[in-house]
Symmetry: C4
Subunit: 230 residues, 4 copies
């Protein structure tokens, strides 16, 4: 099982090196479905002190941590809910600056250009604010549930829009593996920056046509993709 | 007493390495209550030339400097007032860019998200403008007094909101030790950046519910905290 | 022909080192008119893995790639159209942050100062949005055609304004050689930053007089130029 | 005379290392009043290729360059006018991003806080736009004259506000020596950043009281200064 811990440790250090995390905000988890667990960063441990044996393993069945002497990230129940609903291979959470600003503004990151459409097939949604009951009891579980609800009610495919903003909190991204989920966290911040700048000087600009968005998303993703090498 | 000077020197150099200080703006002081003194940066000395023997010791009783050949920071009387009122162990002053912009705009940094609530239990207040009499005589003493007044009149706990903006001037942060006070200066600037970006595109966004703020503050602070390792 | 591939490889790495490209967005091509080809980055290859033998050669006559085992950049047909219409020696495409924000806002970068006029003789135009037919069939060819149309209908000289914003997409720049085209990509982003900042605080500022723009452009360019060394 | 050239070369390289200059925008000159000359950067030479023997000497009497094989900066006549009017020891010109944005917006950098007042005793003015006649003939001389006019008509002391924005162009700063003039260029950009951020979220904020500005300026400057070491 050491291999999964090592990969999760490397992925968390890779996330730290992107510049997307400030302080101890942010974490990556990686699932090993064959083993029935996911590996996640311990809570509040500085990246400089992170080692594979501090990574915590958590059951994909029950959400419970193994007998590690370290507590898992406080966000662990949120990751657990997302693994169950979205069947992804890795999840990244950051408080990256621009994406978090959209979360605090309770605004989705609308798809305003091809840079966005190259990575996300439509707007990156923002959840509804959570209720008192959801916050006061099982807060981190409910954070996961409200994300899943957002995709269900909005009829958004979590395979085509692999990112969300939790209202007044911050973004999560996911993918088949850690490097994809980290890349999506970086791209989410990049499109948030561009969207923010366009919005600040031109709040009423028309959205691009759906056929342009589809063109860019589908030339990189799906069975007719022709971007990149075969 | 050399140990306190060395720690204060290291703390000032650590502050400089955060990127929060421009030119010679900014300083850290550390109190040693057993010895009845606090140690502070000398006035106008470039960080590159800072050495422990240039650090000035100041009485926590009288606010007077020891017989050092260096003048203490011109902000020393402000630190003195804060030590007396807030009983903290270290104080940081910067002119960090976004926090200073809020100070110039005479706006508090409102608590708009969990990133803020993870560190500060409510809005970071801004002082009222100082009067002519307060500015022209004992200006630096009065800067401390107006900060203390802001917390008293606003019924804000200086243990739960360990930061303030002085109107048209810049921020101060404090904590039990220098590393905490420096971390709070960094986090203050980070939440100022996020708040500024959200406000610029969505000035009328609703504030988050108080129960969400309480949840995040209390999961990291206080006796029921469950963030981090035990 | 290895020399052209080496130059194109170096130019793509030089572009990556400017900080203008995020992920795999961005590419440089270089024409060799004597040989009747241009050399372009392969599609979706990370800059860290770029080598001269992965550079793809494309006919300036037909737009068809040589028998390379690598696919050329998906933007290759756009470069081809620009070489045919503008007779330039090199083309750069980026998704640089501020220029892309103007593209998403469908706003030209208006010439508001001498920094702009030192490099571009007038506004940097934005194309019209492309039609469904243009997007769904031969999209990259049509991207080139709509750029050329923008200069033709707007009576803009592609020799004096060597940059364009493709609506909802991103910028292209060009010049006689790769270093000029890269420098223009950097300057385009720089003037986009300045223009964006001025516009955000003063959206209705008067434009500078045309004689000031002409003065700055012509003191650096053309036969009466007196900037730089002879 | 090699010593002056060496100092001017070092000062230009120091300016480049501040990050305030993009491309070849920006230059420093240093006066040697005893020798009756000032030393300035050659026109359009990249900083990486700058050497003392490429620095050009210009008469403080006539404004004419010595018999150097290099042309002086195209801004030389502007420097000459400023030396004659302001009797300063060094002049810096940059196109730093935020200060240039204010110049393009034709807005002064208003004194909104103590950070500003620590360095500049009042608003940093912007010149009026230049006339066609001023631009078309002796443009760089007239740039200097319009700066001098701005201080004369506005009754601004060039010893207390050692910076100006040329409308639609960019800033100049000056001081008794090159390190001061460079420091003022850095501080000008820093206060421009803070002012811009405050203005963007609070355009109608009241200005600070004049007694606060005087307090900060005079505690660092003039005969009653008590900031720094004696």
């Amino acid at each position: 099982m050491s291999s999964l811990r090592e990969r999760a440790c490397r992925a968390n250090l890779a996330l730290a090196s992107t510049g997307l995390v400030t302080g101890t905000f942010g974490n990556v988890s990686i699932a090993d479905t064959a083993a029935g667990v996911f590996a996640i960063k311990p809570s509040g441990v500085p990246y400089a002190e992170l080692k594979p044996d501090k990574i915590v393993l958590v059951s994909l069945e029950t959400g419970e941590a193994d007998g590690s002497k370290f507590r898992p990230s406080s966000d662990t129940p949120t990751h657990f809910e997302l693994y169950r609903a979205f069947k992804c291979g890795a999840i990244v959470h950051t408080h990256s600056e621009y994406a978090t600003a959209f979360a605090q503004a309770r605004l989705p990151i609308s798809c305003m250009g091809t840079t966005h459409a190259d990575y996300f097939h439509g707007d990156v949604p923002v959840t509804r604010p959570m209720t008192r009951a959801e916050v006061e009891r099982d807060y981190e579980v409910n954070t996961g549930k409200v994300i899943v609800e957002t995709f269900g009610k909005g009829k958004i495919s979590p395979d085509e829009v692999r990112a969300v903003l939790v209202a007044n909190h911050a973004p999560f991204t996911w993918g088949p593996d850690a490097s994809t989920a980290i890349e999506l966290a970086e791209m989410l911040e990049f499109i948030a920056r561009i969207n923010w700048r366009a919005r600040a000087i031109a709040p009423d600009t028309a959205r691009p046509d759906q056929f342009l968005i589809d063109k860019h998303y589908l030339r990189k993703h799906g069975k007719s993709a022709y971007y990149g090498q075969k």
